[in-house]
């Protein structure tokens, strides 16, 4: 039964709600405050989460989510650990290094089913496989040396067989490197290579022995154990957000742009289309559902990283991944 007092309280809030929150479902008292720390700035790679926020999917699930932007100096594992954010997104190597240090952090879902990192070379260089990298100059970001090592190891090469240079796409075009790492999702940034008259070749880490996923959702292990229900709701809202972004990419990019003035919509739109088609939805999500994670893949990746000396060999999938949230959540198979 509704008491007089709560009715009065509701009546006094209503004009406020209609003023400030026009159209959005008013926050209930039981709404849980959740902060999501992104690994990177607001862009197409976080379109699903931003759509879930803007369309009120988190609110529907009883979550009051705040999405915090990241950047190159942002350490999201540390932020999830310290409690600045309950949930963060990060990449596979960070999770492995965290587990290697015994940090109480695990992943409970992966928005990107495949890590996109791909190595590009110009057609003239005639680099068809990783074996052709021998004696070549390989460019990648500073943090990508382990991935390069793993890919080399898979093809029977050593890190000493190549020259590692910190570089991006312009480095390839300026002939500072023979091969350069980039994300195929960055369609516009890669355009000079994709449109190169002499063609181009690619080797992805996925096809070369390093099958980890990307844009993992992480949380403290104690939170996953104590409140997997909240995390499952969070995942369901993200699921819905990504599905909406996949069906309405233009609108999704408008929502992303409303949170970050500097993005170039046409570039982000091209990027979002590739992300959705090749990375969010794959055969595995069709079979198991959104944000799926495979334990076997984790074990294989951990073994690879242990072999190249990046982490200790005794780590297993259970040290980096907790499947209870994926099991609990109602996930779209698409």
């Amino acid at each position: 039964m509704i008491s007089r007092r709560s009715l009065l309280a509701a009546a006094s809030i209503m004009p406020l709600a209609s003023l400030g929150l026009g159209g959005v479902v008013p926050a209930h008292a039981q709404q849980k405050q959740v902060k999501l720390q992104l690994a990177w700035l607001y862009n197409a790679a976080s379109a699903g989460e931003i759509v879930a926020l803007k369309k009120g999917y988190f609110t529907e699930k009883g979550l009051d989510v705040e999405i915090l932007p990241g950047g190159p100096n942002s350490n999201t594992v540390q932020e999830a650990l310290s409690g600045v954010a309950q949930i963060a997104t990060t990449y596979a190597p960070e999770i492995m290094y965290g587990a290697n240090q015994g940090l109480p952090i695990k992943t409970f879902g992966a928005a990107f089913q495949k890590a996109p990192l791909t190595f590009y070379s110009l057609g003239e260089a005639n680099i068809k496989t990783v074996a052709d990298w021998k004696g070549k100059r390989i460019g990648a970001g500073q943090g990508a040396t382990a991935q390069v090592k793993a890919v080399l190891d898979h093809s029977g090469l050593k890190f000493e067989d190549i020259t590692f240079i910190q570089a991006q796409i312009p480095g390839l075009l300026q002939d500072q490197v023979d091969v350069v790492a980039s994300w195929p999702t960055n369609v516009a940034q890669n355009a000079p290579v994709l449109q190169h008259a002499g063609g181009y070749n690619t080797q992805s880490i996925w096809d070369n022995g390093l099958q980890f996923q990307s844009n993992y959702y992480i949380a403290r292990t104690d939170l996953i154990e104590s409140d997997s229900d909240m995390l499952a709701k969070f995942l369901e809202a993200c699921d819905k957000g990504w599905a909406y972004a996949a069906d309405n990419p233009e609108e999704a990019i408008d929502m992303v742009a409303s949170m970050s003035s500097a993005i170039e919509k046409d570039k982000e739109l091209a990027s979002l289309k590739v992300i959705v088609a090749d990375f969010i939805y794959t055969d595995e999500t069709r079979e198991h559902g959104f944000a799926n994670i495979s334990k076997d893949r984790w074990n294989a990746t951990l073994q690879t990283y242990a072999r190249i000396g990046e982490i200790k060999p005794e780590l297993t999938a259970d040290d980096v991944f907790d499947d209870r949230v994926l099991v609990a959540a109602q996930r779209t198979k698409r």
Binding site: P69, G71, P72, A262
Partner: protein, 275 residues
Amino acid sequence: MSIDRSVGTTAAPLPRIWSIFPSPDAARALGMAMLGLTLTLIIWQLIIVLFKVPTYLVPAPTDVAGAVSRDLPLLLEAAVPTITEAFFGFLLGNTVALLVAVSFVYNKVVEEMFYPVAILIKTIPIVAIAPVLKIILGNGIEPKIVIAALICFFPTLVNSVRGFRAVNPQLLELMRVLSASKTEVFLRVRVYSALPYIFSALKISVTMCVLGAIVGEWIGANKGIGYLLLQSMFDFNAPRLFATILTASVIAITGFAIVSMLEKWIIRWDPGVAM
């Protein structure tokens, strides 16, 4: 009691705040600077055109000008949070530095104990400490202000300690003869001897605090010059990147000009030290 400070003053006793270019010499200096700048831009443009340097690598001045006019609202919008962070960082860093400097000057033990700490703070790589500050202070404007303040702190501390000490001994002697209190000595002698030093430091820190704010924005922001720099770099949008760099420079130069004007306005005596 008052001390005649006009001895040695050469400029007219007019309000000097508006007379940035008081003499034909200064006008000539400005003209020459503009000429040099224009020449540099012409050479830059020629190199880009002649050697067909691609825009994504280095944009021509005309590309940058195009980006400035196209993205002006965006640049202005980004400047507001950065200026705010830099301004409050400047205030915080310099206020703390001045207070610490005063405590150093009046208490030898404090100086012996905490001067090494101040040096330690100076040697911290800001880029490394920034993520930690974000975890302590959250995602708002606070870590950015503190980073800007950290950068401002040391130059002002060192210079003002030196300034407070750089007192003419005869003047101190005179104050003693006149049985002035410690407060009087501080307000009427030490502050005046320190001001030229402090302003030298402020001129350094006013440009540095903009840098601090930008570094602060790199740990996580969706607005500001730092954010715009990152997004432009990520997009390989070199013209906008250069336009953003230009905006950061304009902010720093404006800050420098404001501090210089304040200096001319406040220091009307001949400080007798090179600045």
